[in-house]
Amino acid sequence: MLIDLTLCVGCNVCQGACKEENQLPPGEEKYLSLTAYTALSKYNDLYIRRMCQHCDVPTCVSVCPVAALSKADAGPVAYDGEKCIGCRYCLQACPYHVPKYEWSSTKPRIQKCKFCAPRLAKGLQPACAEACPTGATIFGERDELLLEAARRVSAEPTKYVPRIYGKDDVGGTSMLYLSPVPFEQLGFDARLGKIPMPMLTMSALSKVPNVLSVGGVMLGGIWWITNRRTEVAAFEASEQKGETPRPEDKP
């Protein structure tokens, strides 16, 4: 989805449509919550819509120990509450603070935007994109949206900052943003680079087989060598006492 902040008028229709689609209690909400999978926040005159970015290399998917979160080829990052063990690593790790936890439940689950996966399967647009009256949110193939975004920026370079947010941020996301002001002023974390976050832990995890194989050989070797040493020491000690006859192959 491409979200053009210059076109957003803050009517909140997208949130209403989202709540209806997901059967959430109606009512305007300012922040993402268990009952708001998308929310508008206001920065000066601009409204910015937040939701799960459906990252191309999702951090949440990489950290989940039981693969309760998964990325579909079509884009959506889906959640399976039947698998989830409730470790909350996804809450901790998501760079956009998206997943919300049912803290008050004794069988808590995660809640977040589902990218209207059932609608996409039927060939429909996500509810929010369909509802948006100004075209601030449009839905399409990622490649085409990128082209469209680039076209808008080059057509009116004074209107936009020259950046398509989500093109490569944290490895690229399904949500693309265009803005008239730098994204850091809109509450986007400037410290997130272009490298997908999962690479950070992969660099450590990829060493696991090495540690196991090299470490195993090393420890075995040390055992063997030190064992030999104690044998030699014992032999020498006994030899000093002159208890055992001197063997041919004296060490």
């Binding site: 990489s62 950290v63 120990p65 760079p95 803290w103 004794t106 992969m202 540690v211 420890l219």
Partner: protein, 400 residues
């Protein structure tokens, strides 16, 4: 079991019982009302005190693999008397951590899922596997002590037969998950404060667990003694102390060098909540104990060692809590203080651990040398009489 010259907790039993009872009540509340009502955790601060406790428990239980490696793999046989206490410490430590993890999980009924639903990209998945496998290894290492007590000898032979690969496997697993606890935070460079976040987290976690594991076992060897005799002769204790000092120095150098390289030392030039927390952990856990342990007189004195190792353990606790809590408070400008229920559960579980330890020590031959292990008589360094190792049948091993 008498503790000489050292502070002694009197009325331990009523205190432990109260704590365990309070912890049980708190746990019942946690399961009835859910995490939201009973903890101060939130969407912004999803991990808190309990995760810190897990780090702590696992780190202090590092004695299990370090001592086993030293004695059985590196053949430092003279440390044999502390192998069993070390394995017991590790075993109890891991059991406690598993208990806390189950309380911490939102769906404890799904705790077995990582075994069947894999995600090789997840550090958490790797940790669950290591924890489970290593706890099994520890049970096998611990089993002979129990079986011996009940005179069931045939499985012992069987365990002995596989003991070498088992020990190697255990050491490797420990290396992996001790460092992986650090890797957990590699994915939150934007949340964890620069004083704690570094790509070297797994390495630092591993180095520091070595120091704390050995300190823990030294502490135990000082607190517990068998029939008025020390568990380890002064010379061996002093040697272990030297090892700790070297590890502390190594940690300090790696950590400081890394701070300088990343430019994060700027954070230390101003007095903030974070820089104070950092100074506290470094001074208490690393600098001061190192300063103490390089002095020979301290290494040879019971009180000196007691103080130094206690500081290492406390500093280690600060380090883990800072990584798990303080460091994360910088972003998104959240503060977190554990709720009473969280604290009671933690205290209750700690008390449970100590009680389990003293119970096992009372009923199983933990602080007794293994029969028929030859030992060289040590030269006395201090005036204090050196221990004489007794076999379980009362004979003096060294003179036999």
């Amino acid at each position: 079991m008498k503790i000489r010259l050292l502070p002694r907790i009197t009325r331990w039993h009523p205190i432990a019982t109260t704590l365990i009872l309070a912890g049980t009540l708190a746990a019942i509340a946690r399961f009835t009302y859910g995490l939201g009502a009973t903890t101060n955790l939130s969407d912004e601060f999803p991990w808190g005190l309990w995760i810190g406790f897990d780090f702590l428990g696992i780190g202090l239980a590092a004695s299990g693999f370090t001592i086993v490696a030293a004695v059985h793999l590196f053949h430092a046989k003279e440390y044999e008397p502390i192998v069993r206490p070390a394995i017991l410490t590790a075993f109890i430590g891991y059991m406690l951590v598993v208990l806390v993890l189950i309380l911490d999980l939102g769906r404890p009924d799904h705790f077995w899922h990582p075994l069947v639903m894999w995600n090789p990209h997840s550090v958490m998945c790797e940790i669950s596997w290591c924890l489970m496998l290593y706890t099994s290894v520890l049970s096998l290492e611990f089993a002979p002590i129990v079986l011996e007590r009940f005179n069931i000898l045939w499985p012992i032979k069987w365990i002995h037969a596989i003991s070498l690969p088992l020990m190697i496997f255990g050491v490797l697993l420990s290396t992996l998950h001790q460092s992986s606890f650090g890797s957990l935070y590699l994915i939150v460079p934007n949340r964890l404060h620069a004083l704690w976040y570094t790509p070297l987290l797994p390495v630092l976690f591993f180095i520091s667990c070595l120091a704390s594991g050995i300190s823990m076992i030294l502490l135990e060897s000082l607190v517990f003694s068998r029939g008025g005799r020390d568990l380890l002769p002064t010379r061996l204790r002093a040697n272990l102390a030297k090892v700790i000092a070297v590890i502390l120095a190594l940690y300090f150098v790696v950590r400081v060098e890394n701070l300088l390289a990343r430019g994060a030392w700027h954070e230390l030039t101003t007095v903030t909540y974070f820089s104070l927390a950092f100074y506290a952990e470094m001074l208490i856990g690393f600098v001061i104990p190192f300063g103490l342990l390089v002095v020979e007189r301290v290494r040879n004195s019971r009180r000196g060692l007691y103080a130094a190792t206690l500081m290492v353990v406390v500093g280690f606790a600060l380090n883990r809590m800072n990584t798990a809590i303080t460091g994360l408070e910088s972003y998104p400008a959240q503060t977190y203080f554990p709720s009473l229920i969280e604290i009671f559960i933690m205290l209750g579980i700690t008390a449970l651990g100590f009680s389990a330890f003293s119970f096992v020590v009372k009923h199983l031959p933990i602080f007794e040398p293994v029969v028929a292990t030859p030992r060289v008589r040590q030269v006395a360094v201090t005036a204090r009489p050196e221990p004489v190792f007794l076999t379980r049948h009362g004979g003096d091993l060294e003179s036999s």
